[in-house]
Symmetry: C2
Subunit: 146 residues, 2 copies
Amino acid sequence: MLTRIDHIGIACHDLDATVEFYRTTYGFEVFHTEVNEEQGVREAMLKINETSDGGASYLQLLEPTREDSAVGKWLAKNGEGVHHIAFGTADVDGDAAEIRGKGVRVLYDEPRRGSMGSRITFLHPKDCHGVLTELVTSAAVESAEH
Amino acid sequence: MLTRIDHIGIACHDLDATVEFYRTTYGFEVFHTEVNEEQGVREAMLKINETSDGGASYLQLLEPTREDSAVGKWLAKNGEGVHHIAFGTADVDGDAAEIRGKGVRVLYDEPRRGSMGSRITFLHPKDCHGVLTELVTSAAVESAEH
């Protein structure tokens, strides 16, 4: 069951400049940064608020580390902007299986590693009215359950 | 000060079909619907979670009521997808003035009426790394303060 807006993923050409824009314009600070070589991105998470399910909502700023990554190709086509949205769940495996059973294409056979040790998968935007949609189970929730 | 992700605005061709997709795929229910003739949209708000500032985060599904509305023109160019993101604040007037002072174009001289009696303004996407960004003060927050 999806219980929060976990993050909004925003693709940018220059992560440092975009982080600086969000800091100086709104006062949003960087909560976490990492490089995800599998996804081909360098990213910064800006925590905006906590959520009623015990999680939080972030902006995820994404700079491609290579042009042939999914985000790199998306940026070349679309320019900077909102790349995907992500919903938080305590059970990404179960929810992905249930949603796949409803005929929505799930992009990974098994969830992969996302930000901050989370486990993630994506739903095909053409099956979601044009919205690339991510499902996330955060590391903290997994630790609490096991 | 912006204290939450208030909503993600998603443009669609057929509001009823898109509402049905979100209900059957994820179990998200409609919290509120309205027509905003000034914005030229018919919309449904789906409440996803509550937030640590006393507000909530929604998906806002938007169907244009006329082709020459901002959302209608955007849809014709881009197809369905994420149209804008919105941050919640207790003081949209003050924050808009402060952000304008930093050189970011604010699209309205004065905030206008948004969903559920809120007061809203927008920031120019070209000044925000490609993201059309809305600032929202909800009616509930205003009532509590006055």
